[in-house]
Symmetry: none
């Protein structure tokens, strides 16, 4: 069953053995597996070696322990992408829809007080102001207003925005996006947005504000989005380590 002379560590061989028993159903879900002492006897190795194998499988989610009771087979879970946030484009593809974008407005202007504050830059510094409409299967889903410091992305064009902004940032400019903070809230659609989104006045919308930061700590963009609530749900998966 296991080879003590092998250069492959014993604990690893035992791990593979246990995994196999789990995957082939020899150890049933939520049923107790042999105790550490029993396995220790079976394989003629120290209990600590068994523990290392079992601990690894607990960490990987194959098993769980109950003090005083035993070690049990965990139910297998669908491996969901841990990613908390995805871009609109990826998100829609995942939902089986075809995303597209229409740039409504692309301009360079001096930052207002509030925008300068959001981006952590000085007033009067130049920013791009970009307004886009996001479509899925050609149905309007969201309006997005983005502000980006010109200093960070000197040669931004409407074409780049239309195509793939993040790809340009990371591949061409070699800037690394470090993190993002999003705030979500519900609201009633504004009259001027209702037209663009083809919604009735008074309908619910999901407002998402996002700050995106580079590794350097500088804010890359500030985005205000308005999503049609009847067509869009926001999903978050969270793992506890």
């Amino acid at each position: 069953m296991i080879d003590k002379q092998s250069p492959i560590p014993i604990y690893y061989q035992i791990e593979e053995y246990l995994k196999k028993m789990i995957e082939t159903g020899k150890f049933a879900v939520n049923q107790v597996i042999p105790s550490e002492r029993e396995l220790s006897g079976t394989f003629q190795v120290s209990r600590m070696t068994i523990r290392q194998a079992v601990s690894d499988l607990v960490n990987e989610g194959y098993l769980y322990r109950r003090k005083g009771k035993g070690t049990f087979v965990a139910e297998q879970k669908i491996e969901q992408p841990l990613q908390g946030l995805t871009s609109f484009t990826e998100d829609m593809i995942k939902r089986g829809m075809t995303p597209s974008t229409r740039v409504l407005h692309f301009d360079k202007k001096k930052a207002s007080v509030s925008i300068a504050k959001q981006l952590g830059i000085s007033e009067q510094e130049l920013v791009y102001e970009i307004k886009r409409i996001r479509l899925a299967d050609d149905i309007p889903m969201a309006l997005e207003m983005s502000y980006i410091p010109v200093k960070l992305v000197p040669n931004l064009t409407e074409t780049i925005v239309q195509d793939s902004f993040y790809k340009y940032i990371e591949d061409t400019l070699q800037l690394k996006i470090e993190d993002a903070v999003q705030a979500l809230e519900a609201s009633i659609v504004l009259p001027e947005d209702a037209k663009r989104l083809d919604m009735k006045p008074g309908a619910a919308v999901l407002l998402i504000h996002r700050h995106t930061y580079l590794t350097s700590g500088k804010a890359l963009e500030w985005v205000k989005s308005v999503y049609r609530a009847d067509r869009y749900k926001f999903l978050i998966n969270m793992k506890r380590s």
Copy 2:
């Protein structure tokens, strides 16, 4: 520094010590930390005990090992995924408000088709149905409807729900919450909810549906929440690899 007489395991005390050194920058990023033998001598404990502490921190992403070289401080990592799992109570405290809860309804009943499906249990199995109103500074913030399989938490009482459900689950029942999936969407408040939340008809609300899973893979609860949009924003921080 560490207390060998304490009921708190030594390896855990050493983990806390190492974490503190990392978080305060006493151990710099990508720099080597004292070797296992050195720590073993410093704390006068066996090397295996040190290894358990270090292994845990490696698993949690605080450290990484290089055979023959040493153990190093990893670059700071995601800390936030947990944020989504924080309870309403913690969330409100973080915002400087005083949270409270009123249980409107506490009942044991057979699972309906849809609830059974959401919880991954068979129909006719018993579930708790709990309706609560969440207040912050005595102002209604949200309505919550929870469904919990009776099988998993046989002795749940209204008092436990009122006090601290998660604490009871983890401390008393020794069940470990593994992850949660949340879906957020915007909507217009329902007439009956408007009254409870003291809102005008037609106002916007944030709907949050949450599935919480145990380490065993079983669904612990399914929660439908209705938040007052004018008082509640949902924040997400995410780090990108």
